[in-house]
Every structure is written in C-alpha cells, then in structure tokens.
Amino acid sequence: MIGLKAFGAYLPRYLLPRDLISNAWDFPSVPGTKAVASADEDSITMAVEAGLDCLVGIDPKSIDGLFFATTTQVYTEKNSASLIATVLDMKDDIITTDFTDALKAGTTAVCRAVDTIKSNKDIKSILVIAADTRKPEPGTMWEFGFADSAAALLIAEEDLLPVSIEDYYSISANSTGPWKRTEKDKFIRTFEVKMDARIYSQSITKVMSELLKRNNLQPEDIGGAAYYYNNPRLHGRIAKMMKFAGGVAQNSVFFQLGDLGTPMPFILLISALRRPKPDAKIILAGFGDGADAILMQVRDKELLKSVNKNAMGVAAHQKSMITLKNYDWYIENKELLEKDRYSRKSSAVIHWRETPSLYQMYGLKCTNCGTIQYPMMFRSCYKCRADDQMEPVKLSLKGTIFTYTLDHLIGGGYYETPVPRCVIDLDGGGRILLNMTEIENPQENVQIGMRVELTFRKQHESADFVNYYWKCRPERGRK
C-alpha cells in the first residue's frame, strides 16, 4: 500500500497574543494567539526542523525524494528541497522539487508523491515537507492570522503502514485573491476578501464532496477532516455543509496557532492522528487557486502509536512554546524595522566544501585514539596528534554546556545582544561552539551543565546569500 509512514512538525518557540496586535494598532480586541518564528528562521530552517522530527528512527539515506511546499520561498531561483535534503543528510540520487505559489502546494506535493511512487519502481518513499513564514503587513487584518510553522509527511509504499492513502481529487480555480507580485509586493494583497472567502468555501466543499462521491462514502463514514482554513466561522460552516459529525473537522489550530499557511492541513492531520478511531477514514484538504482532497485511512494503530511517540508533532511543540509579552519583539523579529544587520566575511564555496561539517553535523573520529572532534577541516588529532587517521562520524544534535559567555560585542558592533556563546560537549563525543537562540533572561537561565538541542538557523546574509549553520537552544524535547 501507499501511505503515511511517519510524520513530524515544527512550531516555533513563540506565541503572540492577538491582543498585543490590537493594542499596538488600537483595534478591537481579538482572542487567541499565533505562532511566531524567530528572526533567524525561514521556511528552509523550519522545514529542516520538521524533517528532523519526522525522521526520528528512520535512516535519511533510505528515502528516495524530497518535495518541499511553501509560498515563502527563500530564493526564487535556487531549489530549497535540495538544500533541505542536504541538511537532512539524504543521499544524492533522489528527486527534489519545490511546490510553491499557492497554499495548496503541500497537498499537491502529497498527490504528486503518490503518483511518483505509483509510476516509478525505483522510488519507494518521498518526504513531503511544508513550511511557511508569511509576513503580514503590520496594522492589517492579515496580522491577526499569518503564523509560522512546518510539517513533514513521509509518503511510502510498504506492505504495512500506519495510514494508507486511498485516493485523491483536485480542482483548479482562478481565485480573486490573495496574491503577491514577485518583484513589486512586499506583503500579500487582495481585492475583496468576501469574494475570496466564497471561492474558498466553494472549492473546499466541492473537492471534498467529489472525493466522497468517487469512493462511495457518506459524510458519517469520515472520522477526521483536516482542511485548510483561515477563518474559524467559515470552518464551522463548511463542516456543517459537509455534514461531518461533531469533532470530525479539526479546528483547534487557528485560535491557538493562527493561519499556518501551506503546512496547515498537515498540522491538522497530525492532530487528527493523535488518537484516531481504528480504521478511521480521514480527509486531508488544501486550498489555493484550486483545491486538493486526499482520502486516508488508519491501518495499523500500533505503528501509528510509535510514530506519535517518536515525533514531537504538534502537542509536544505546543507544550514548549512561550507567550510573548510585547509587540516590539515581534516587529523586530519579523525584520519589519530597518536595522543594521550583522555581516561578516562569507564564501559560498566554503559552505559547499564543508557541507558535511556545516550542514550535516559530521565530525571526525581519530582511529588511533578514538577521540571524536569537530570541525572536519583539521587533519591531525587534537588529542594524540596522529596525522590523517580520521574517519567521519555523525555527531549528536544534543549536548551539555561546558562553559559559556554572554557576548555583547558581535563582530565589533552591538546588534541583538547579548548572544550566549556556548561551548558544548555533544552527547557521544565532540565539542563545539554555538550561539544560543531563543533564550529568555540569559543572565539567569544559561548555566554550566545546561542541556541544549542543536537547531538549524540563518546566521547572516553576507555575500548576498543566506548563510545557514547550527545554533543551540534550550531543550524542547526533539528526539
């Protein structure tokens, strides 16, 4: 069968209460919170996080492809999927494609993954990752919605899977909005939201209804419906129109996390798969200038339980989120303020040459004395001084702080400071220096002996490209 072998999610560290937006712009109070990424995150770094969460216990080199779905491409010419696959340490004889430009890109990528696996005997599994960091124009209604997240679904063909994919159905529709012109628009635009909403409702109900019809199913046969929405009232109306039983349509996300964009249906699906009924049939649906609906069925509850156990998914990420206390932090982290940014020497060639060290976190093991060390450019052993007796070794993404400082001077200037510089002993060997991100009150909270996790982040944009590398963060619970 073809279906879902594993899944993972990523929700950023911070929640912005909508009331802070209301207060900032003197708008009427709006309830709930939304997920907000840090300044050092983008759709690529969040995709890496979701991929890591999905691949716990799975060899990345066993996967045959990576499809990346986003409307917030970091580059308009440069394949993000290839970079993400590199960081996730996948093999190089794989297919990589970016699906973009509409919020349904995630569900479309799942459909194409199914097609590809069906039609190509060499391709048995494809990792589909969706991520979005849509930047709303400050002081507009978009600001209450747009939120940041990523989610990963590993689509595979195997004899037994936790969840099967039974069918899909798609439609195309040229919507009235929203849009964002490639070179002219900094923010998303639209002409008439009421008209947009009508096209959304028509598209999403049509695509789900047709899917039921094709499979001779009645609404009461459906145990879970994970369809994109950006308006809770509309979401409820669609559930009613579809005649779904109470609790079937997943609706917890917008209120707490916001409009997550492309990954939203995946996030809803992961929530639906947390405690599903045996053999439950679940619809996954995405919208954006058309719609896709995918029919899934729970096949093996034990396998599903272990997937849920490995991945942080949605619930464990939500547990480790922190609520922001002021709007300024949000505006600054979204880089909506003009500010000097940290820049330093850079070279795309060095990034390429040191890919195992910088992107995939390999170190070296001295075959003479066994000492594990980092980075990989040094060919004589730090400890026994043996020359050229090193073999590559994958390092852990977790460790303990040996010593640290809180640095106020970044490259000769004062930027967002202090930056904790942490000397970390990685679990299983290797010592590394990393900046810490997402730490509150570092003076009190950074300590010798503190446990940290490595997280892939933007460092700076010198030489006119995004310079990615790892930082550490306080433990959130990634396995």
Partner: protein, 395 residues
C-alpha cells in the same frame, strides 16, 4: 648537536614608546616615527646605524609588510619584516630581531611595533568582515576569555570581585605612568557596577581600544657598552613562543587545553623561557613582570601558568598583595594593558621597553625597587599564541 639558544648574546641599548591613548590627531606613521626616533636617540645612534628591522603589526589597515617601516623611516632599502602573531606580534618582532643579532647577520637592529586602532572606530576590535570562517561562531575577544572566566568561577570558586582586584591594582599602578592611556585609580565597586561586555566580564575587566607604538634597538652584548647607556645595557635572557589551536572551543575533552582554567600556551612558553634563562623558581627570581592583562581573568590565569603561584591561588595571592608593585613580584607595575589599552602590534615592544627601563632603574611611573630580572608576556588570539621574554641586567 646541542641547542645553543640566545641567552646572554643580545643587548638592548635603547628603547622608547609613545604616549598611549585615543590619538585621533596622529597616524600610525607619526606613532612609529616618534617611537623609533626616541629609541635611536636613547641608544645614541642614527637611523643609518640600523642594519635591519622587524615590526609587529596585527591589522592589515595599520600597515602591510616591512614597507610600512620604510615609508616611516626611509631606511634606503634595508631589510625589514612585518611579523604578525596576534597579540604577540610585537614580541615576535623582538624575538626575530634578536635572532638577527645573535646569528651574526647584523650588528644593530630595530624591533618595533605599532597599531592604529582608533581610525576604525572605538567599539571593539574590527575585522570580522575580512577574515575568519563564514558561519563557525567567532566570539568577540572579551567573549573568548570570558569563557575561561565562567569555567574558572566554576572550578576555582572565584567571582567578579576577584577579577575587579586585578583592575584596581593595574589602574592604581597606571595612574603613576605619564604615558598611560588611563591615569585614574578605580574602586572595586566602580568595576562591579560597570556595564557588561561579555558576561562575566564588565567594562573594567577589559582593556581599552588605544593607539600606540614602541621600539627597541638591539646589538651584540660585547658591543653594547660602546652605546649611550654604557654598562647599563640590558641583556636578553630568553625569548619563547608557544602556539596552540586558534579555536580552543573545539578541543575535545581530555585533550590539552580543554579545561578553560589554564592556558597551555603560557605554560609551554614560560617553561621554555625559564629553561633558557636558567630560572628555577620564577616567583623568587623574577622581580617585575609585564603580564598580558587584556582581560582581568587573563592576568589571574597567566600568573598561575607563569608559576608565580599555585593553580587556583591567583585570586587569593592578589588579594594578599603578592603582585603589588612593591611586593614579592610586581605584576604590571606599568599599569598593564588595563591602563595602556592594547594597540596590538605595539604591546609586546611596549612591555619590553617597560621592563628594560625597570631593570635600568629609570622606569616611568612606578619604579620597582631593586629590579634585576624582569619578564614580559603576551597571550593572543583565543589564548593560542604566547610569547615570554626574560631580560636581565648587564653583568
């Protein structure tokens, strides 16, 4: 073949340094010109007596190659070499100059150093846009050393007050030195209340950004009495350099230097210098020492690694006055980097100038009583390059 070393072969016959500080109205050319003019005058020679020169410069913007010195002095095609070895750049210029004399290649040589930092602005050391790795973290200089402070607090039980005592002592000495950048005493309370630079190092735990230059004239010991100071020349007893990794934060547990509570480069350079100078009990035998105090924690750990006291005892010894200018071993009687700032390429030559004048009994500022053997020490980069030189009086 037995290694002969250079002990007792080379003499310092003249030296000088500029005023240190934020010298906005002077260029690196002015500074080095003034220091070299002062040194040649001190030795009673002219620039035409110089056979060769070595200049310590760290930053490319201060000057590239020996031609920088040619442009300052117009030595008419003489051999000049720029040395760069982080904070030891100046002392390494001196070391190479000594080799030039000891080998017999030259009769009279110039060792000098200069750095013009303030033209780049005063907020921390510049250069991260030019060198280094694209993404591997490069901590600021105070951040590098403060990682040792954090670990030393943890291991030795020291605290910020222990660090503040270093600043209080050095500023107290520097207040007497006419050429120091800072000439005011400070209190422990002032130091503790200053803004943080790299936690736990505050502003008074860090040396300042300054401009300055220093120069020394060397010749063979047997020729030395014929110059201006006659028999009151100074003898080079030892020069040692030790290099460890640029990036101590990658040194895996169990390897040398992974503890962050001592500096292996200082330990190694000190051992080599003591051996060459036949010093067995540095605390007893050395009278005055210019010890690299780029940060207060650096001085404390260096005093231990130079074997002035036991490991873990430096804070206690400092508190008890061991390192005061008129006590057992005067550490930074000039006021150190804390009072002079750290124009990188010049600092080693400034320290050697200070020690030379101490041993000649003509120190500016605090004259250490009856100083016979003196030591100068630099520790640069992320505590990776250390230089130790030992000077003595003429026999």
């Amino acid at each position: 073949m037995v290694r002969k070393g250079i002990a007792d072969k080379v003499a310092i016959i003249g030296c000088d340094m500029t005023k240190y500080g934020e010298l906005w109205d002077k260029s690196q050319y002015d500074l080095l010109f003034e220091a070299v003019q002062g040194a040649t005058k001190d030795a009673g020679i002219t620039k035409d007596d110089i056979d060769a020169a070595w200049v310590g410069i760290f930053y490319y913007f201060t000057g590239l190659s020996g031609a920088t010195v040619e442009d300052i002095l117009r030595l008419d095609g003489k051999p000049i070499t720029r040395t760069e070895n982080y904070c030891a750049s100046g002392m390494d210029a001196f070391r190479n100059a000594c080799f030039g004399v000891a080998s017999g290649a030259y009769d009279v040589v110039l060792a000098c150093g200069v750095e013009k930092l303030m033209d780049e602005g005063s907020s921390g050391l510049p250069g991260f846009k030019i060198f280094g790795h694209p993404v591997l973290p490069i901590p600021s200089a105070p951040a590098m050393f403060s990682m040792a402070a954090t670990r030393s607090f943890h291991e030795y039980g020291w605290n910020r007050e222990d660090l503040a005592r270093v600043a209080v002592k050095n500023h107290s000495n520097g207040a007497h030195h006419p050429k120091a950048h800072f000439r005011s005493e400070i209190t422990i309370d002032q130091a503790l209340k200053a803004p943080m630079i790299a936690d736990p190092l505050g502003r008074f735990d860090c040396c300042a950004m300054s401009d300055g230059a220093a120069a020394l004239i060397l010749t063979r010991v047997e020729d030395a009495p014929s110059y201006a100071h006659g028999d009151n020349y100074i003898v080079v007893k030892a020069n040692a350099i030790s290099c460890y990794t640029n990036t101590p934060w990658y040194v895996p547990q169990g390897a040398v230097g992974s503890d962050f509570t001592h500096f292996p480069a200082t330990e190694k350079a000190a051992a080599a210098a003591y051996k060459e100078a036949s010093i067995t009990d540095p605390r007893k035998e050395i009278d005055c020492a210019e010890v690299h105090d780029c940060f207060t924690i650096t001085e404390l750990l260096n005093c231990q690694d130079l074997r002035f006291c036991e490991r873990g005892q430096a804070a206690e010894e400092l508190k008890n006055g061991t390192f005061n200018w008129d006590s057992e071993i005067a550490v930074n009687p000039s006021g150190g980097l804390k009072s002079f700032g750290h124009p990188i390429g010049s600092t080693g030559c400034r320290m050697l100038t200070e020690v030379t004048k101490q041993l000649q009994g003509r120190a500016e500022g605090r004259q250490v009583p009856d100083a016979k053997i003196g030591l100068a020490h630099n520790l640069g980069g992320a505590f990776c390059v250390c230089s130790v030189s030992i000077l003595g009086q003429a026999k």
